[in-house]
């Protein structure tokens, strides 16, 4: 089911990019996707990388469609990445940056989404500080909603681009060890990576201070039993032992530590965090010599990751950003195939 994109300038195919079979109207989380669907996304992203390699990285897949990017939280890379992805697909892009304070001033999300729809949006990419907010938008919006990050819950495009980046370097991830280190509790990136990497069969380790891992041991335990996790997933390991998490790891991903964790009483200090959990060149020696180093950004260099590691030989952090555009192009392209005017079968529930 490979997607072929005709070279630019070959008339007929320009107007009608073939969309692979894709049943989900929204992309809100990765928990509802099975491996075959994730593979379709990854293969489509691979094709989009081909588009990005062209002198003029633009295809008309979303010509005439409007993608509205609604961010209630400050973000540069994800917002710009979606914007570039949409423009590369020839969509019209509307950017809305809503301040989080406007929420408390009584502007309801439902009203905002209705307004955006009335203004002609076909696809809505949203980021919100509250877990689950995109599901509320999806109930109201008649087009497609893409979750650009909601609270602590999910960041599906990030999970996919991380998976895509790992697969480009390592191929099949079955049996490959991936260690995610940092503030797991408050991380939507960690949660989306749990779904993506367990589906891929990776050996996943989550590591951080005990206060920032709370609840994940129980989640892991739930999947460790004889029944395993959903779709027979084998689960993941949760530990505060950084040395064990890094030992022979193929991938080391660090997460941003926010200053608020100190004020919230979850950490004694960022300095202590850096001393115990910061990824330094020294600590990275425990991993495989060719281990990939990843970070979803933005980085606190010198806290969760040492500056020399961030730009070191194994670092694929810049490549994550480039791959993010390809993955987001794939997401927008596949979802657009489910919208009105398309012949693809549609599953329209918020869970779809």
């Amino acid at each position: 089911m490979s997607l072929t994109i005709e070279p630019a300038g070959t008339s007929a195919a320009e107007a009608s990019l073939p969309a692979p079979r894709w049943r989900h109207r929204h992309l809100l989380d990765l928990d509802g996707l099975d491996w075959s669907e994730i593979e379709v996304l990854l293969r489509t992203a691979e094709d989009m990388r081909g588009v990005l390699a062209r002198p003029i990285a633009r295809v008309p897949a979303l010509r005439g469609r409007t993608v509205t990017i609604l961010f209630y939280e400050a973000s540069t890379r994800t917002r710009v990445s979606f914007e570039v992805a949409a423009k590369n697909l020839s969509a019209d892009v509307v950017n809305i940056t809503a301040s989080a304070s406007s929420v408390s001033k009584g502007e309801s999300l439902v009203d905002t989404v209705r307004t955006i729809e009335s203004l002609g949006a076909n696809m809505l990419v949203m980021r919100h500080a509250t877990s689950g907010a995109p599901y509320l938008a999806a109930e109201t919006f008649s087009g497609s909603v893409v979750n650009g990050g909601d609270g602590w819950h999910a960041h599906p495009s990030q999970g996919l681009l991380d998976l895509f980046t790992m697969r480009r370097h390592l191929g099949d991830l079955r049996g490959r060890k991936v260690a995610i280190v940092g503030d797991i509790l408050h991380s939507r990136v960690a949660r989306s990576n749990i779904w993506a990497l367990t589906a891929a069969g990776a050996e996943l380790w989550l590591c951080g201070p005990a206060t920032l891992l709370r609840g994940f041991e129980a989640w892991a335990g739930s999947w460790r039993g004889t029944a395993g996790g959903p779709d027979g997933r084998k689960g993941f390991v949760v530990t505060s032992d950084l040395r064990a998490a890094l030992r022979d790891a193929d991938v080391v991903m660090t997460l941003r530590i926010q200053r608020e964790r100190q004020a919230g009483g979850l950490l004694p200090s960022l300095r202590e965090y850096a001393a115990r959990f910061g990824i330094t060149r020294e600590r990275l020696r425990g991993a495989r010599p060719d281990a990939l180093v990843m970070h979803p950004g933005p980085m606190n260099e010198g806290v969760e990751i040492a500056p020399d590691v961030a730009v070191g030989s194994g670092s694929v952090i810049s490549e994550q950003v480039r791959n993010g555009v390809a993955v987001r192009m794939a997401i927008l392209h596949l979802l657009s195939g489910t919208l009105a005017g398309s012949t693809a079968p549609v599953e329209g529930t918020a869970r779809g």
Partner: protein, 477 residues
């Protein structure tokens, strides 16, 4: 087949009611079985228990007659939040749920922290025209702020049935101790909402697998258990010198709390508790999109993702409630507590909200379930699943709360010949759909919308007057 013949008009004294070949439940006398009941001019004329061949074919799966239910915990939002509910609409909802007495919480605006507000509530109840008895708690502290005692004595004189800062716990153990002592002098209970707020700041859902996976801030079981343990310790200290002190713990939701109350009762402490219908059936899995009852979640470690139990979208704000919906194991512990009598009463914590307050992001949504009309249906689901006997459920809705209210309940509970009729009749074999038309409450914030619940209420009679009359097709079987 039971027959219900009635000459009735809503709001009026019930002229004539003749129920034949029904199932009667009278927890006051401890009796339950086939029987017949006659009501004339608002009074119970005759109660006849059938036996032998007369009783053949009568089972508790059809028309059932029970005393009117008493709800120890409801929010009717008046004064201050009349868009969400008024005393008139709340009373109509109560009657539709089979309740003839409701005890309102004082977290109105202004709070019921002085007698004038309580009097206004009583006037609104009288003006509603509903015969449902509206009783109310006073606040424990001024403005429910947790610091200075409210006008407890004046509130007692004006008819308060006890004191509660519900919505919030009585934060300070010192304030709780003084409140227990002072209320004991007035012969009234303190009703606490047990929550150690140091553990629940910003909490959105029960701390557990569902909250972890969905990225919701957890409300740990320990926050309730710690508060229950504190309250019981303070009570023990108070009763040593003031034996009239009474503590009622409302809407308990976790296994540890039930166990603490069980042990406190065994030690002879004057503590009672209630559990809501939603905490006796629903679980936090519903927030993930599961729609199975607690007893349907199999195994010691259920996981709705692994179990392929997710059938609806996640983050439905009608499921946001305080205390939150808990794990299946907690629900099973609450059911066990109900069976063994640790749980004295089932109280609805009916908490209607407007759309404006619920059609928002999950973490921003108001806490509460509009539940006074769906209480019976949810409980009958538990009965049908063999989780608790019907008689025990009815007792926990009638004599259980009546014992806690004591002399503050104006009339005794029971199917008592010669007394003003105070009863409800429902058809356990008939289902009704919960929807925006069938609900009488202004609050449509129910996770059960669209479901068909067992136990259609046919008639509710409070103090001899018709409070609710089912207008459905009279030819229905």
């Amino acid at each position: 087949m039971a027959e219900v013949e009635a000459v009735v008009a809503p709001g009026e004294t019930i002229a004539e009611l003749d129920v034949t070949r029904a199932w009667l439940i009278d927890p006051a006398s401890g009796r339950e079985g086939p029987g017949e009941i006659v009501v004339e001019e608002g009074r119970v004329g005759a109660v006849t228990w059938l036996d032998g061949t007369e009783a053949d074919g009568i089972a508790p799966d059809g028309v059932i007659v029970a005393p009117g239910f008493v709800d120890l915990h409801a929010h009717f939002r008046e004064p201050g939040f009349e868009q969400a509910e008024t005393i008139a609409t709340g009373s109509a909802a109560a009657a539709h749920g089979g309740f003839t007495t409701v005890c309102l919480m004082p977290n109105t605006r202004p709070a019921i922290d002085e007698a004038a507000v309580l009097v206004a509530v009583g006037q609104a109840a009288a003006a509603s025209g509903s015969p449902v008895r509206v009783l109310a708690y006073g606040a424990v502290t001024h403005g429910r702020a947790g610091e200075e005692l409210a006008a407890l004595g004046e509130l007692a004189d004006a008819g308060a049935i006890g004191f509660s800062d519900d919505g919030s716990p009585v934060r300070s153990a010192g304030v709780l101790r003084n409140a227990l002592l002072y209320a004991a002098m007035l012969d009234l209970p303190i009703v606490d909402h047990p929550e150690e707020q140091g553990l629940t700041g910003g909490a959105e859902a029960n701390e557990g697998l569902v909250a972890t996976v969905l990225g919701l801030k957890g409300w740990p079981a320990a926050a309730e258990a710690a508060a229950v343990a504190r309250d019981i310790a303070v009570l023990a200290d108070v009763v040593a010198t003031e034996p009239r002190a009474r503590l009622h713990l409302t809407h308990l939701s976790v296994a540890e709390s039930i166990d603490l109350v069980r042990r406190a009762k065994a030690a002879g402490l004057p503590v009672t508790c209630d559990v809501t219908p939603h905490h006796l059936a629903l679980t936090d899995e519903w927030i993930a999109g599961a729609r199975r009852y607690a007893w349907q979640a199999e195994g010691v470690n259920p996981d709705p993702w692994r179990d392929r139990a997710l059938v609806a979208g996640p983050f439905d704000t009608s499921l946001r409630v305080n205390p939150p919906l808990r794990r299946p194991a907690d629900v099973m512990a609450c059911l066990a507590g109900l069976r063994d009598g640790t749980v004295d009463a089932i109280a609805t914590d009916h908490a209607p909200h407007t759309r404006v307050d619920k059609d928002v992001e999950f973490g921003l949504a108001a806490n509460g379930i509009s539940g006074i009309e769906t209480a019976l249906g949810l409980l009958l689901e538990a009965v049908a699943a063999g989780q608790v006997p019907l008689g025990r459920v009815i007792a926990a809705l009638t004599v259980g709360p009546a014992r806690i209210l004591g002399s503050r309940l104006p009339a005794p509970i029971g199917l008592n010949e010669g007394a003003p009729a105070d009863l409800m009749i429902f058809d356990a074999g008939d289902r009704w759909e919960v929807n925006e038309t069938s609900l009488r409450s202004l609050g449509h914030n129910s996770p059960l919308l669209g479901r068909a619940l067992p136990g259609r209420v046919l008639l509710t009679v409070a103090a001899g007057r018709v409070a609710y009359l089912d207008e459905a097709d009279p030819d229905r079987d």
